[in-house]
């Protein structure tokens, strides 16, 4: 029964990672860049909620009303100032600048908030859970996060398919030069994509902060988990991100069930296994003799 419990908790944990990975996936899908500072930006969201609690007495939920618009602005400005220049400077430069940001943000947070752990109060829902049996219980707050992740992914899906902004995003992602020809300003589109990505990151950061404690080192850790979710689910695919998050979450909770210190390790190993499996599939050599392979596959 405890194994079933571990799997259910893993699925719910997948919601946290999916929420965090959404923005990473969106930016990769539109601009083909991986924002290494994504986890650090999420962490700024969490620390902002903490500050708003201390100084303005806001609950984290209310704080989101301030944080999300703020994050949209930060994302927009970040793109127009730093990332736009980086994109123009070549394929490696966005990696270098966002890695620089990761280092700067991590150390500034260390300076301002010390290495001590902080946490956000999720309110009454934090302690609520549905008990199915003596060993199996479902924490209500984790269900809430998974719900938020699904709503964000669904909302983004609608935005991309049903709105003008979404069409422009997809057109620019497919071919920025041709999109320019029909009057789409790719720089504005990129800035909108980053704004949305940073807003979802901040949202994820606040929920992450309510779910568990965080410290300045959490940014890189969450970046790695989010990235693993994106890769397991398939780079650039939105719903794949949810699937990848769930696979990663289950791997971690099952690992922790074997031994608490295996939590992160099992997640990393599943990530590597997925990479190896994908490489073998692409090479078309799953140990099968040529005549057993699906026709057409081997040709690629």
């Amino acid at each position: 029964m405890s194994w079933v419990n571990a799997v259910i908790h893993g699925i719910l944990l997948g919601g946290v990672y999916a929420l965090l990975a959404t923005g990473l996936s969106l930016m990769f899908g539109v601009m083909r860049i991986i924002n290494l500072a994504h986890g650090s930006l999420a962490l700024i969201g969490a620390y902002s909620a903490y500050e708003l609690k201390v100084h303005a007495g806001m609950s984290p939920y209310v704080a989101l009303v301030v944080i999300i618009p703020g994050a949209l602005v930060v994302g927009y400005v970040l793109q127009r100032t730093l990332l736009e220049r980086s994109l123009r400077a070549g394929p490696l430069v966005p990696l270098l600048t966002t890695f620089g940001l990761l280092i700067i943000i991590g150390n500034l947070l260390l300076k301002i908030f010390s290495p001590d752990v902080h946490s956000l109060d999720p309110g009454a829902i934090g302690s609520k859970s549905w008990r199915i049996s003596s060993e199996l219980s479902i924490p209500a707050f984790d269900v809430l996060i998974l719900g938020v992740a699904i709503v964000v992914l669904g909302g983004l899906q609608l935005l991309l398919t049903r709105t003008r902004i979404g069409r422009e995003l997809r057109a620019t992602a497919a071919d920025p030069d041709t999109a320019e020809l029909v009057g789409i300003d790719s720089r504005t589109v990129y800035a909108r994509a980053t704004a949305i990505a940073v807003a979802t990151a901040a949202l994820a950061g606040v929920f992450f902060g309510m779910r568990s404690t965080f410290d300045p080192a959490s940014g890189p850790t969450q970046l790695i988990y989010a990235f693993e979710a994106v890769v397991i689910g398939g780079l650039g695919s939105l719903w794949g991100t949810l699937f990848g998050g769930i696979v990663l979450g289950v791997a971690q909770t099952v690992g922790a069930q074997v031994d608490p210190s295996y939590f992160a390790l099992f997640g990393h190993l599943v990530f590597l296994v997925v990479l190896v499996a994908r490489a073998l599939l692409e090479a078309g050599t799953l140990g099968l003799p040529a005549r057993l392979r699906i026709p057409g596959r081997a040709a690629t």
Binding site: I34, S86, L96, L272, V276
Partner: protein
């Protein structure tokens, strides 16, 4: 017109560099232990910068996970020298080879990733090794461990040997990279960096070229890790597997000049001077490194040496070809 590699400035610079390296070998005979220790840390920085530059500057591979191999080199030394009582310096050499061997194993997995995916992929590998080491009590688990076997030497002797080991490693890797870049492989590597698909279409073996650089970088970072352990005598998993090493490497290469042969040496010296001025543990130190690295990436993408080379047309190390009128 004649195509030639050596020019008077490059002859002069290569000659001086060789002379400096030879002169440095005699430093331990006249200098104090603390000077040797500092110079050793400089050599380690230069090794790290050279290896990261080999990956990114010549292979187009941005890694933020080279700390995996630094950690393997350091903990491999502990594993052989402390747990299995191999002679200390032999253990260091073998640990570097182990790091290279592990690079051979993970290269096919990681090299199918591109750009940012490769970057974080290497980081995941580093995290895996950090966790595995932290779980092993023989290696001191999460609290760290000392390389007490080095205490069989007197402090002066020990520092001398480590100094020579670090200088020798830096010189050997520098020479290896020099020969590699001048070979046929060097030309194909730079073709890969500039345009992977175009290179592949004219028959360059892209994966092999990248794999060779990745293994060389793994080996070099492993050697650097073993030297860091010897120079500090104490390591812990969270320190030696820290992504901060990647930050240092990126800083040195961007400041010195990405894809230039001599840039990493200059970058290493710049970082060394900053460390001496600011101390290398401060929070502001890393904020400064990050900010300067971003500024260089955006405003001076060829770094100090690359900009000097472009402006003056100088090539200090003859790793390419030049056209000249000389008969």
């Amino acid at each position: 017109m004649r195509v030639h590699r050596w020019t008077p400035p490059s002859l002069f610079f290569t000659g001086s560099l060789s002379a400096i390296v030879i002169a440095l070998f005699f430093v331990p005979l006249v200098m104090t232990d603390s000077v040797m220790q500092k110079l050793t840390s400089l050599f380690i920085l230069v090794i790290l910068a050279m290896m990261w530059n080999a990956l990114a500057g010549y292979g187009g591979l941005v890694s933020v996970g080279q700390q995996a191999f630094i950690g393997i080199g350091a903990y491999g030394t502990i594993f052989l020298g402390h747990v299995h009582t191999v002679a200390p310096f032999l253990a260091m050499l073998l640990a570097a080879l182990i790091a290279g061997a592990i690079a051979v194993v993970v290269a096919p997995i990681l090299l199918q990733l591109r750009g940012g995916a490769f970057a974080i992929g290497t980081w995941v590998v580093a995290e895996i090794f950090a966790i595995v080491v932290a779980l092993d009590h023989k290696l001191g688990a999460g609290t760290g461990t000392s390389f007490i076997e080095l205490n069989y030497y007197s402090p002066h002797q020990r520092q001398q040997y480590i100094y020579w080991a670090a200088l020798g490693t830096a010189a050997v890797l520098l020479l290896a990279l020099f020969l590699l870049l001048r070979s046929r492989l060097g030309a194909s590597l730079q073709a890969i960096r500039d345009d992977e698909e175009a290179a592949a279409s004219v028959g360059v073996r892209v994966m092999t070229g990248k794999a060779i650089l990745f293994v060389l970088a793994g080996l070099g970072c492993g050697a650097a890790g073993a030297l860091i352990l010897a120079n500090q005598l104490f390591i812990e998993p969270s320190g030696i597997f820290s992504v901060d090493y990647s930050a240092l490497m990126i800083f040195m290469v961007l400041v010195g000049g990405l894809g230039t042969f001599d840039g990493p040496i200059i970058g290493g010296i710049v970082l060394y001077v900053i460390q001496q001025q600011l101390g290398d543990n401060g929070v502001w130190y890393f904020v400064l490194l990050g900010a300067v690295a971003i500024a260089f990436a955006l405003l001076l993408p060829r770094g100090l040496m690359g900009t000097i080379q472009d402006r003056l047309g100088l090539r200090l190390m003859p790793v390419g070809y030049r056209l000249g009128k000389k008969a």
